[in-house]
Amino acid sequence: MSRFFTTGSDSESESSLSGEELVTKPVGGNYGKQPLLLSEDEEDTKRVVRSAKDKRFEELTNLIRTIRNAMKIRDVTKCLEEFELLGKAYGKAKSIVDKEGVPRFYIRILADLEDYLNELWEDKEGKKKMNKNNAKALSTLRQKIRKYNRDFESHITSYKQNPEQSADEDAEKNEEDSEGSSDEDEDEDGVSAATFLKKKSEAPSGESRKFLKKMDDEDEDSEDSEDDEDWDTGSTSSDSDSEEEEGKQTALASRFLKKAPTTDEDKKAAEKKREDKAKKKHDRKSKRLDEEEEDNEGGEWERVRGGVPLVKKPKMFAKGTEITHAVVIKKLNEILQARGKKGTDRAAQIELLQLLVQIAAENNLGEGVIVKIKFNIIASLYDYNPNLATYMKPEMWGKCLDCINELMDILFANPNIFVGENILEESENLHNADQPLRVRGCILTLVERMDEEFTKIMQNTDPHSQEYVEHLKDEAQVCAIIERVQRYLEEKGTTEEVCRIYLLRILHTYYKFDYKAHQRQLTPPEGSSKSEQDQAENEGEDSAVLMERLCKYIYAKDRTDRIRTCAILCHIYHHALHSRWYQARDLMLMSHLQDNIQHADPPVQILYNRTMVQLGICAFRQGLTKDAHNALLDIQSSGRAKELLGQGLLLRSLQERNQEQEKVERRRQVPFHLHINLELLECVYLVSAMLLEIPYMAAHESDARRRMISKQFHHQLRVGERQPLLGPPESMREHVVAASKAMKMGDWKTCHSFIINEKMNGKVWDLFPEADKVRTMLVRKIQEESLRTYLFTYSSVYDSISMETLSDMFELDLPTVHSIISKMIINEELMASLDQPTQTVVMHRTEPTAQQNLALQLAEKLGSLVENNERVFDHKQGTYGGYFRDQKDGYRKNEGYMRRGGYRQQQSQTAY
């Protein structure tokens, strides 16, 4: 016990519980997080610590190695076991960890394992093939590691953000470790190495030291793949106690700093070495390279082994500094050959290409070469993900954007560079400065691909997370790039290319509400025609004008139907979004898209659906309920609005489709920031249906042939009726149903309060850009339709009714009431006449009463019954028998009369 007292601090006592060796360790606050920083005079004590640390860490590293092995052979059960052991071992090593900070390799395995598990988890095909034990272990392990990793969240995220740092720390380990680790590791390894090399020139002191040390290490023990875990501890020790080495390192570092011509060589040599090593790595892994190549590699390998990197050159860069176009191009082709091959380390490839760019730039090989290599870098960035479904990692994405930007910079700076897909490899002109430079490659394709990747990233991010917002910020960058490319292509591109880039631009513009232009519209013009002109000039930046210009160009120049269709739809959408209903409608009607949209591919159909919905909502805003209803009918009546708009998959059809289909459908989903609010959509539809249906129902209360205008609305009404206990409405639908009921009674105030209130404002109405305008329109509509409903329902109890009373009841002005009633009379909906002097409506009371109506219907039914009965009789008698013929005619006549009645009603319906 006394020992504990001597140790004093809390952590110490804890540690003593876990490990006896630690007790001997003196209390020391001077252990930094990085063993590298330790000073020499502490070496003694350090050794003691190291023994304890080593012991624990070795245990951990051994476990990690087994896990990596298990990961490699996909033995999840084993992984699970080892992971549990690892957790225990870590618990034991806790005291050390408290001191030293969480070891990087530990975080690394946690992160890797989680990634690996997620990968397995996503891979549904693979999961199916997996045996039961493994599958079970997978799910348990996945849960466990999730839970476990929560404690290390900050470490892991920091690790993920800059894996190079961590990779730096145990670079040696990575070096060999990558062989035993999954692809993931190698990627990070590659990334780290790349940044490493980049950084090298900027801040050589720290990193280069390490780097060089590592090189030395390699030189010394000629790079064997054993003992990778021991490297870690080894490195710390060698770092700290091999001072004499340090001297050499600093010397080397200083050489780097000086940037002498020799340094260049040094560096190149080092780079070459790295490259070779990377090559060798995937060489080993893939084991399927050609004989010839293997020979190549072998040759290079020999040279490296020679251990005199400063003198010998890799064979493609002949004699040191003499780096020519041909050499670089050859190297480039060499790198590209590995592309697409199984086991090619894609990350390493990117890194190699980036190196090449640097070399090319340093040697002033001209923009042509750089452009060419840049093209290839971007292409390999896109290639990075083997699967079409997976999306780019944020860091790759950022790199990609940067790359494209740089490329654009170059292209703008050098107008004499011609870029094109059609330029053959042979006819490329990369260096001859006299003639214009010609480079094969298509900037447009790259940008289109970039756009796709962006969509993919957005699709795969949880739309309610901060991450999504972060990603969305990139949208501005994407737009900027598209704009630049557009400018570039406007100068140089063919019309076809211009059309494509215009479409891209349109696709990034059409769904955005132009608040600036909206504001400008709101401030009234100053009256004179001059100010109008000013305004027109102002609108130069308006998205409307932009859309107009881009779309018109496409309409005129495009030859592929698809681009034009998309452009039209986007144009309509944009019009509709900005409440230009008539333009939108006319464009829609003129394009005749409605006739043949079913032949288009699904994404275009989704766009069409979106456009129709937007059109409907636009019509609603304008108070054109009927148009709104018609536009939304198709989408809403199916009950699959979500699916039709590409805003989510329906659970119901999950069983019906297989995984392939599901993947395809997932890829079709519209990113969240383009979504149309479904509740808004449904509400608009239901409210317009209400405004149409309720007066119609009142007018045809007792008509057997009455048809429903909106099935869905009726469905909602029925659902409302089925409720055993009617509370105050909660959801949007309940509000509309309650409002409909009020309207049925002609009670417009209640109806109004149900449609427009706090809840509904929050849910629906405030989503409109001009919410107040919509609300006033809605109130007016409700008043009018309520008046109509009232007249339909209660006209039979009135002999006459004063229009003034009506105008008071519905708070409408007299002329409006007059016009509504006149319209009803003209349409023969209301059997009445207006008495001008007294301003009253005099009912004619010619409509049959309810009983009379019923009796008429009954008579009709009986008619058909008798006719049916006759047929049975006919059958027995044969088809002769003149008497019955006559009889039947009689019935027919009767029916004819009835039909005429029906016809009249129908006519009034259509007129309505």
Binding site: T849, A850, Q851, L854, A855, Q857, L858, K861, L862, S864, L865, N868, N869, R871, V872, H875
Partner: protein, 346 residues
């Protein structure tokens, strides 16, 4: 309230028996040798039935119960009854028979007639001619020859005149039901139409003298104003409902006929086709054509639709029509009365 109804009931006895006479005449036309010529109901039974409906029945839901009594010569005396418990979802294993036996045993202990003589059921606007009623009445009548079904119409009763009717299946229908053959041919052979499916048995409500005395006394005390439902002139709602129901049945009937029609057409078409085919084949083989009779053996005609349903629908339509007729006649009378009254007042 109940006592007053009882009062009207006793006065209505004569009217219901006269109304019943028409039905009886028809019934007699079909079967002169019916086992029961008259039903005598105790006031208690009527009250219990009304009470049962008021407590448990609502809207289109019907209530049912068991009638207990005795057969005296050709008269069925119903002296007591008890309701079937309402069915709920959660006691699906409830044994109804057990419950009935238990109930009857208990009633016997208190010295009440325990002979099962039929059952009663409430109705919604007179729609009771259904398959369910037919089936259960058949099983009753099959087991206990004298059983009747009492149909109680609460809506009509609420309008001021007690409506309670006793029905039995005619012997002819009993025969048909026993055969369980509802094909068109069988029904044709049985010569049964909707008029002869049910026979109505006249009802007499009988009270003990003591009760009658009490009734007289009560009648004196009750104000006349309480009886005004009988004179209510509002008719449209009731009439509308009746028309609606009538229309529904007519629709059903129409469909039924169409179905039958298609069946007829199919049979004849099939017969012709098969005949021709067969004959063609035979001709090709050089054999003489088949005679008509063999055809029906060779080819199965399509399944004939059961005609019982259409019979029931027709019966139901008939009931509705009777109802409407009765109702409108009464209402016309009332209207004339009101008119006369108004003229007199003016």
């Amino acid at each position: 309230m109940a006592s007053r109804k009882e009062g009207t009931g006793s006065t209505a006895t004569s009217s219901s028996s006269t109304a019943g006479a028409a039905g009886k005449g028809k019934g007699k036309g079909g079967s002169g040798d019916s086992a029961v010529k008259q039903v005598q109901i105790d006031g208690l039974v009527v009250l219990k039935i009304i009470k049962h409906y008021q407590e448990e029945g609502q809207g289109t839901e019907v209530v049912q119960g068991v009638l207990l009594g005795l057969v005296v010569e050709d008269r069925l005396e119903i002296t007591n009854c008890f309701p079937f418990p309402q069915h709920t979802e959660d006691d699906a294993d409830f044994d109804e028979v057990q419950y009935q036996m238990e109930m009857m045993r208990s009633l016997r202990h208190v010295n009440i007639d325990h002979l099962h003589v039929g059952w009663y059921q409430s109705t919604y606007y007179g729609s009771f001619v259904t398959r369910a009623l037919l089936d259960s009445q058949f099983s009753y009548q099959h087991a206990i020859e004298e059983s009747v079904v009492l149909i109680y119409d609460p809506i009509k009763t609420a309008q001021g005149s007690l409506s309670l009717k006793a029905y039995r299946l005619t012997p002819k229908l009993m025969e048909v039901c026993k055969e369980k053959d509802f094909s068109p041919e069988a029904l044709k052979k049985a010569n049964i139409t909707f008029e002869y499916m049910f026979e109505e048995v006249p009802i007499v409500i009988k009270n003990s003298h003591l009760i009658n005395v009490l009734m007289w006394e009560l009648e004196k005390k009750s104000a006349v104003a309480d009886k005004h439902e009988l004179l209510s002139l509002a008719s449209s709602n009731h009439l509308g409902k009746n028309l609606q129901l009538l229309m529904d049945r007519v629709d059903e009937m129409s469909q039924d006929i169409v179905k039958y029609n298609t069946y007829m057409r199919n049979t004849s078409k099939q017969q012709q086709q098969k005949h021709q085919q067969e004959n063609m084949q035979r001709q090709s083989r050089g054999e003489p054509p088949l005679p008509e009779e063999d055809l029906s053996k060779l080819f199965k005609p399509p399944q004939p639709p059961a005609r019982m349903d259409s019979l029931l629908i027709a019966g139901q339509i008939n009931t509705y029509c009777q109802n409407i007729k009765e109702f409108t006649a009464q209402n016309l009378g009332k209207l004339f009365m009101a008119q006369a009254l108004q003229e007199y007042n003016n």
